[in-house]
Symmetry: D2
Subunit: 286 residues, 4 copies
């Protein structure tokens, strides 16, 4: 939104005294104009997490020198950290199978300027969504997959991702289980939407499971994909009320709106560097 370019630091380290003082002093000494700062201490695990964003304009350290300037401080506290600039636009590849509502929603938001990203590539194991991709002018790659061909197909995905310098993979109702190796290669860079409030109804056909169980609330969960199916760090969840009147088809229909909004919100938080993963959880600095 803001016209001014900002830098953002995402920091994780063991909890220690003086962390906030050190980071804020680093920015103050260099005349950084902070636009957002938030931190969290997980007391149980003694982990400190921080997000701080400031304007490049007026900052005494030139953009290309910031990482070097910050490194001594980071080493003193043994920090894990990443540095991002708001004018670097992340590149997304969307993976989809047959149901296109999440794909369509992401493309519409992108077209309307709501997602601060490029979407150069859609990959699918089916041809169905090609017309949608074409109507948005996005390259559409069909990579069919079977149990035998999975390794080869994932290698092809990797090639496309490398070729397009993809930063984030979004599984927009991609109904294939990715291999543990693929998930690990792209750790914290794959966002999946699961159509239930996890951990309830993991796995296949969650709306059928929910209808069978007679729940009064359904949900959707956006999470980072990890080798354990539907077990990765949760980014966003939302729910909707249902009743005995709602058939499975009603749940599917209502669920689509949940899925779209939850996935889009998670992607947006990730793109704006608002998410830090620690353990199997996320801290959301919104």
């Amino acid at each position: 939104m803001s016209a001014k370019t900002t830098a953002t630091l995402l920091i994780t380290c063991r909890d220690q005294k003086g962390l906030v003082a050190a980071v804020s002093d680093f920015l103050y000494r260099n005349e950084g104009n902070i636009t957002h700062a938030d931190q969290h201490t997980d007391k149980e695990r003694a982990i400190f997490l921080q997000r701080v964003e400031w304007e490049l304009d007026g900052f005494r350290v030139p953009r290309e020198g910031i990482a070097d300037a910050f490194r001594p401080l980071a080493e003193r506290f043994d920090m894990t950290w990443t540095l991002h600039f708001s004018d670097e636009v992340p590149r997304i590849a969307i993976l989809v199978s047959k149901l296109p509502h999440c794909l369509y929603d992401l493309l519409a938001r992108w077209r309307l300027g709501e997602l601060d990203a490029e979407i150069p590539m859609i990959i699918s194991n089916h041809d169905d969504a090609r017309p949608i991709a074409e109507s948005f002018g996005v390259e559409y790659q069909v990579l069919p997959v079977s149990a035998e061909s999975k390794a080869r197909q994932e290698a092809q995905i990797d090639e496309l991702i490398a070729r397009e310098r993809i930063d984030l993979i979004v599984l927009a109702r991609y109904m294939q289980v990715l291999s543990a190796e693929f998930c690990e290669r792209h750790a914290n860079r794959i966002i999946n939407i699961h159509h239930s409030f996890l951990p309830a109804f993991a796995g296949a056909r969650p709306y059928h499971q929910a209808h069978e169980r007679g729940v009064k609330v359904i949900g959707a969960t956006a999470h980072y994909a990890t080798p354990e199916l539907d077990q990765g760090p949760i980014i966003v969840q939302d729910v909707a009320r249902v009743s005995h009147r709602d058939s499975v088809e009603d749940l599917v229909r209502m669920g689509k709106d949940l899925e779209k909004v939850v996935l889009a919100r998670a992607v947006d938080l990730h793109l704006r560097h608002r998410v830090i993963v620690y353990g199997n959880k996320t801290a959301i600095f919104d």
Copy 2:
């Protein structure tokens, strides 16, 4: 609320043509003034469910003759049905262990006239909640329980329930697993509050499980107790948003409010004959 006494029929049967016509004709011919009517057809299972409530005042069949007058119709359609009168006040026994917030909440609602019931008895496996029972003038029975004594303790509960002519047993954070036999003896007459959005986090310590999993939503579930732990028909569920900032203690604190409201709502729906159980589900006619 209404000063006028009403009769309520709860009907379940195989779906057939003419059901609504027959029931509404029965009431119309006898000049019944209907105050609430609702029905539901589960198409999948071909089950028809109906709730209909009408004023006794002006109804041509005298109160004590209504069951007999309705029986031929019920037999024609092979209905399972119950008949209730609004001036018959159900009697509740509350079972509680150590955490008293749900107990306290139910007693306060009862005292303030919000629950249309009598509460003549509180049963616990601990002495802790006795002062609360006494401050409300309700009999408090302590029946300690161990693995060996469970059968005997449940027999004692049965005696108290029989003695007090209890219609509904409310498990207000009663932390003992009731035997399958006990659940079956009191089928659809035991309401339990579970402190998670089932089926997620069934069993022990759900807030710890939720915190460990890093969910963004917690919940509470009121359901009828059945032999399978935490698997009975769900009556009411509600949820609250949480974040990485919330400790287990925070979840417990926020969860208490959910538990109280969800349990009270379920008890109130049951007392007002708004719930029909079918299969492992409920239809809520509110």
Copy 3:
């Protein structure tokens, strides 16, 4: 969803005994297979509302004779009623100004087969959304409007609506106030989305008003347009939590998702004949 064609009656009349019996008897005598029936009595105003839907297949009265067959019963009870067939596809005109997110969302749902309607026409007072209309292959009419030209512009809208045999006008963030005459001509056939939880923040710039007031919840409201601005019968409302951290821009961003979902849900309910307007309210039979 269902392949079978159904008829739906929407009925409003003064509350009287025997209404449900008479309607259900009419269907039963003619061997109607009821797929949905719901009714509501507004005790205060003594108004009875009913929705009943049944399969044409097997019904003894042929489709073109149903209205005539029902009329005597309707006259006996002095009913206001409409009859709809599920294979008659309503036709929608969307009016939009500059913000296209609701327009885009409706078109995407339509394209994905989620809305049971035709959308032959988009009308705007600006040229901005033309590329969107074109990408969906929908005619786009620009009818600029000023205080002086409003009457003439609305006459042009009327012409287009007549030409295209439009059944429903959807104001998808159309930022012009329609004349009382226009609203009355199309009573209960114009659905507007207002970006607040009415009656809070009626009128202009509701997100600014909400931010200024420091509310912790924002909302969106879909309602039928009436001569009194933002005062018409409410169909759907939904809300989202906000905090002091959220700027006006954040509220606008979060609000867009609310607006899209609320408007789409209201349009869908209307299209499936699930809404009855009475007084300045709606009954939603979902």
Copy 4:
């Protein structure tokens, strides 16, 4: 919850560079073990808000010297600030009229140890709630009020408040409008519960207004009382879905649960020093 005593600073000042650095440096130099820190900058108004909490144990400045030690820094940045210690238990007076559900709820939470406060006094313009006060062993003062006697009655309230060294006045459905002078004398120390989602349905009989308007969502709002009725800074809001089936009595019944939870949450946030008022808004650091 925590056994360790903490100090909490609530800070408001004009936004300036170096604020976070200065405060965190102050704590770091004195070996403060921070348990919670959060800040917010209102960019529009250029206001900086901060909450920071740390353990007294191990802090180099003795408790009684902290204010003096912090003062120079506060003066340098022209801060408005307050300092609180977690072992100082705030004292609450509850004002109530006839409807006792919020009163009862607060007393039950207090009794169960959920509210970190003393409640030495209940004041009412009616005698109705006396038995409740007595069952909790709390002094109950009846101060009837009429248009003519309002000034005198408020003077009596002031006396009781002074005598009991009250820190917080909670209006738990107190149906009298307090004078502007009284509100100003106790600015940011009076929490009121209003039974609607303000600014909708300010003033009298909000559930009747909501029913009349046909809204699909009702709400409750806890806010600080200011001279303008129902216009003060909002602390907590929550909502519940309603439908055309719900009578005014249903709204009242559902609303009671909203009111209780919203008021209790607001009181709890205030007691734990999680609220900063600025302009006519609140920042909630939870």
